[in-house]
């Protein structure tokens, strides 16, 4: 990855994270907004080393956890693991097609919800298991659609 691509990738991550915070926190849209922080991490992790991707996940998790302090730390750990796995997925799956990207984002977001649920379960803060089956796939689809749109814009501009 050359310098220009690195800067473009950094800009994509920053824009997605800021957009997520503006829509969710600033405008209070909450559940109506796709999880752009997870999308940003998954898109960036494919082009980063495992350690850096996990570090980015930790950083984004701290920011997200600060908004929801009752689960602070859980989202940081889940995103760090997700970043690591996202980076390692390059060794298993290669491809740049929209269909692959949609599946990758869908699976990544759903995996994040499962990881978060398990971590909170271990901390005696269990969520609703039914939401993992009913709500999470829909939110994962939503995130995948938003991720494809963001990636298309990124590829067009870079």
């Amino acid at each position: 990855m050359n310098g220009a691509h690195r800067w473009a990738l950094g800009a994509l991550v920053v824009i997605l994270v800021v957009l997520d915070l503006v829509l969710r926190v600033g405008l209070g849209l909450g559940h109506f907004v796709p999880d752009l922080i997870v999308v940003a991490l998954l898109l960036a992790a494919r082009q980063m080393r495992s350690g850096w991707a996990a570090g980015l996940g930790l950083l984004l998790g701290i920011v997200e956890g600060a908004v929801i302090p009752l689960t602070f730390g859980a989202s940081a750990l889940a995103l760090a693991i997700l970043g690591f796995l996202g980076s390692r997925s390059r060794d298993l799956f290669s491809g740049d097609s929209p269909i692959f990207l949609a599946f990758y984002l869908f699976a990544g977001k759903w995996l994040y919800d499962i990881l978060l649920h398990l971590i909170l379960l271990a901390r005696a803060q269990p969520g609703s298991p039914s939401s993992l089956i009913l709500v999470s796939p829909l939110m994962a689809l939503y995130a995948a659609a938003a991720g494809i749109a963001a990636y298309t814009a990124y590829r067009t501009l870079s």
Binding site: V25, G28, V67, I68, T71, G73, A76, H117, G127
Partner: protein, 342 residues
Amino acid sequence: MLAALLLVLPDRYRVGIASGVRSTVLLPFIAMERGAVDHDGQFADASEVRAERDSLAAFLVGQASLVSENRQLRGLLGMRQRLPYSFVAAEVVRPGGSAEQGSFLVTGGARDGVHAGSPVVTSRGLVGMIKEVYGQDAVGYDWTNPNFRASAVSVDGQTYGIVEPHAGPGGDRMLALTSTALHTVPKKGTLIVTSGSGGTYPRGIPIGEVVGTESEASTWQRIYLIRPLVSPDEMSHVLVLGAPQSTTTVQDLAGAWGIRLRQGPPPDSLMLPRAAPAAAPAAPVERPAPRRTPRPSGPRLLGRPVIRQDQNTQGTQGTPQAGTPVPPQPGTPPDTGRRRQR
């Protein structure tokens, strides 16, 4: 490793990190949310606000003499000043996301007088409680949080129990009234309010209505499904009640919602002997003095009254003092301003 370390950090460090991030990186976004709420407030229906203001002004004029008389009478009887129940009007920021779990940020913190453990209500009823308090904001959780519990009683005072989150039919987010006795069966539509037991929530805050029974399988208790009065979508503007006051009387807020909460038997009354011992002398029965319903006095209210006249007959807790804030009536939008009211 670092991420796992965050999980096992003591609470005060985790709170410190979260507070630091919120007061730096997230500060513009939280400020933006406050600005958006203020902007929305500017477009509120001015005629409705004016009518409420006129009603309040007229009501306060009528109450002025009562307040001075009450103060004089309390002084003559040697009673100490009744402590008012304070509240802070605030907005709620719901960040959404998978980790939310019914938690929210409140745009009012320790500087505004918010305390940890304070109940959070709206004009319709109970929302939840404040968990952690910071300088300018606080974190609370609502009734959808898995850890939410509230001691409750039916409005007829007959059925006591514990209210907790429960998945209703079709996966709807509802509440369940558990640990109830078998000998009382609340009807469908019965209003459930906080009972005040345990001291977490004051008595008389509406929670929800009974919509059915969960199952009859349990032999020693029934579980009733409760439809909460405040849905998560309606939790944008809230009132954070002040810290529990140490008064000689039980804080009963039912009157603030226009509810007349009947005094039923206490939850453990079944353990007490019903009849007096045979050897005990018969005590003279003291008949209560007949209650007179005072005629409404003062100027006619111009708009929708925030405090109804009949609350004055509900005992000492139903009569507000001058300067004592009272949560608005059902249907009345709460105050959108971020001002502390004592």
